[in-house]
């Protein structure tokens, strides 16, 4: 845990009516890296993102961004500090063009409107949709919309991008294109944290993996170490003698 981690989560907990959705989770993200949060369904990955971005208030624990505490701040304030989120269900401004969509991000992002056109163009380039700039956002495919989400998010000059299942529902070609975009974003200096299910892509692109299971962090480290961790395997597949796994004698 380096002293200059861009995002630090300390003993974060959240319960919903007695159910512990997130239980005592702590980790720190290095700037300029790509970290993937993985885990079985219902592990609490979306809840974790919601806690970090201020949609939900934690029951206990803290979140620090670039050294300052953002626990309990309103969502749009957190957005203004340099954290951007790209959603799985894209919400483009349908009647506007792709360019105008991304321009909104550049106009209102962190530290005010600076070099708006240049920032917009750069965001479009990084996201690989510069050729769609004049197309109406309402006419894009799902894959293109994801790229738009990402472009609009990084146009806000964010230092940290939280991407919510950016590859969900995409075919292999589209998935590879999205992974490429995330790499380019990392290369431009933006830290990326993503929630993803697509294992091959996650293994390929991540500098580090965080594994959540039933609200707790059960592994934290480089991809290959985590993938061979017994606890992680058990979380996904069950242990050999558990009743949940299929029995050959049936």
């Amino acid at each position: 845990m380096s002293a200059s981690s861009i995002l630090r989560v300390d003993r974060l907990s959240k319960s919903f009516r007695g159910l512990k959705a997130i239980s005592d989770v702590s980790f720190a993200i290095d700037p300029g890296s790509i970290t993937s949060i993985i885990g079985p369904n219902g592990a609490g990955k979306s809840t974790l993102f919601n806690l970090i971005t201020g949609y939900l208030a934690p029951n206990s624990g803290e979140v620090h961004f670039s050294g300052r505490s953002i626990t309990g701040l309103a969502t749009n304030r957190i957005a203004g500090l340099g954290i951007a989120r790209a959603f799985q269900i894209a919400r483009p401004f349908r009647d506007l063009s792709v360019f105008e969509n991304v321009r909104i991000g550049a106009l209102f992002g962190k530290s005010g409107p600076r070099d708006v056109t240049a920032t917009t163009a750069r965001a479009l380039e990084l996201a690989g949709i510069a050729h769609l700039a004049d197309r109406s956002a309402g006419a894009l495919t799902v894959g293109q919309l994801r790229h738009l989400e990402v472009a609009r998010a990084i146009a806000t000059r964010a230092d940290l991008l939280l991407a919510d299942e950016p590859c969900a529902g995409l075919n292999p070609t589209e998935t590879a294109a999205m992974i490429d975009v995330l790499r380019r974003i990392r290369a431009s200096g933006v830290t990326v944290v993503l929630v993803e299910h697509d294992m091959p892509s996650v293994m390929e692109v991540s500098d580090r993996l965080l594994v959540l299971d039933a609200g707790s962090l059960i592994a934290d480290g480089p991809p290959h170490d985590v993938a061979s961790d017994a606890h992680v395997i058990a979380a996904y597949l069950g242990t050999p003698d558990s009743s949940a796994s299929p029995s050959l004698s049936r």
Binding site: R85, F93, R94, I104, G105, F108, T156
Partner: protein
């Protein structure tokens, strides 16, 4: 801020010059129709700053016409010794201030509502203002308010008010034009499209909505003050009118909701149809407006400008098709 395109500016200026020459060649009836067209276009533009740009369609903007008019009238009642131009100027300031205060006060609660709830709440506000105006003696709503004649002696009142409406309309157009091209306008647009996402991207949605609301209200009020002077004598019913509330929405819908010139086109067309085409058929006005509304909603939700835009898009697409 994006530059206004030079051809567009030239066209608009040319139209203004042509319109300004109107009273010199048109008979009095058409000058009066022209007044109504310009007044309505100005109101439509003021409305659209909130309704078309930000997507907060108000069903009660007549409230500001009334508040502006009565504020001006009550103040001017105390100024009978002053020259008419000064009276008008002070009246305009009074009307603008009253609308600014009212809209700023109402904005905080009412802008928390969205869509239909906002629309109906504004209708409620309009009616509350109208009822209070009518029932509280101080406002002289039922008694009526007289306005001093402000047209210079050398000019026909008809012509004077025509040119005044034209000037006022131009001011409102310029303001709306400026807003549309500014960062503020881009923010309003994003609010219209998806307010929650806009907030997430850092748009100060609450502040922008309030600003749009107040600007829209003040401009409406200013036009209301001019209208009251052109009538000379007003009661509650002359300014707090439900048909005005409706017309303001129809202008933008007819011309093209969300565009800058749509409301102007819509206002010109609707006023012309009702006042000129249907002039002899007074009994048909409600029916005609209603029918027009039904047709627009069903057949042309993008309004006249939307139809034009679709037409050109189809022409371009056909032209780009390779020859079979």
């Amino acid at each position: 801020m994006r530059r206004a395109s030079l051809p567009a500016v030239v066209v608009v200026l040319a139209c203004v010059i042509v319109l300004a020459a109107g009273p010199l060649v048109l008979p009095p009836f058409y000058v009066r129709v022209g007044q109504l067209m310009l007044y309505s276009a100005g109101l439509a533009l003021a409305w659209t700053i909130l309704g078309g740009f930000a997507g907060y369609a108000s069903f009660g903007h007549a409230a500001f016409i009334g508040v502006g008019a009565f504020a001006a009238g009550l103040v001017e009642l105390q100024l009978s010794g002053l020259p008419p131009a000064l009276q008008l100027a002070i009246g305009l300031v009074a009307g603008a201030l009253a609308c600014a205060v009212l809209s700023a006060a109402v904005a905080y609660p009412i802008l928390r509502l969205r869509g239909t709830f906002f629309a109906i709440a504004m209708l409620g506000v309009s009616h509350v203002c109208a009822e209070l105006n009518n029932n509280i003696d101080f406002f002289q709503g039922s008694l009526g308010l007289n306005f001093p004649p402000v047209a210079p002696v050398s000019v026909e009142p008809e012509t004077f008010f025509y040119e005044l409406y034209l000037a006022a309309g131009l001011v409102v157009l310029t303001i709306a034009w400026w807003i549309q091209r500014s960062r503020f306008g881009a923010g309003l647009l994003s609010i219209r499209e998806d307010e929650d996402t806009a907030r997430m991207l850092g748009v100060p949605t609450e502040r922008y909505k309030r600003m749009a609301f107040v600007v829209s209200a003040v401009l409406t009020g200013l036009l209301g003050v001019i209208y009251a002077h052109s009538l000379g004598y007003i009661t509650t019913d002359s300014v707090y009118r439900d048909d005005t509330n409706l017309d303001l929405i129809v202008y933008s819908m007819l011309g093209g909701m969300g565009t800058l010139f749509g409301p102007v086109v819509g206002a010109f067309v609707l006023v012309f149809v009702i006042q000129v085409v249907l002039a002899r058929l007074l009994d048909f006005h409600l029916f005609a407006t209603g029918l027009l509304l039904v047709i627009i909603v069903l057949a042309a939700p993008g309004g006249i400008l939307g139809l034009v835009r679709d037409f050109w898009a189809r022409r371009r697409r056909d032209a780009a098709m390779p020859a079979e």
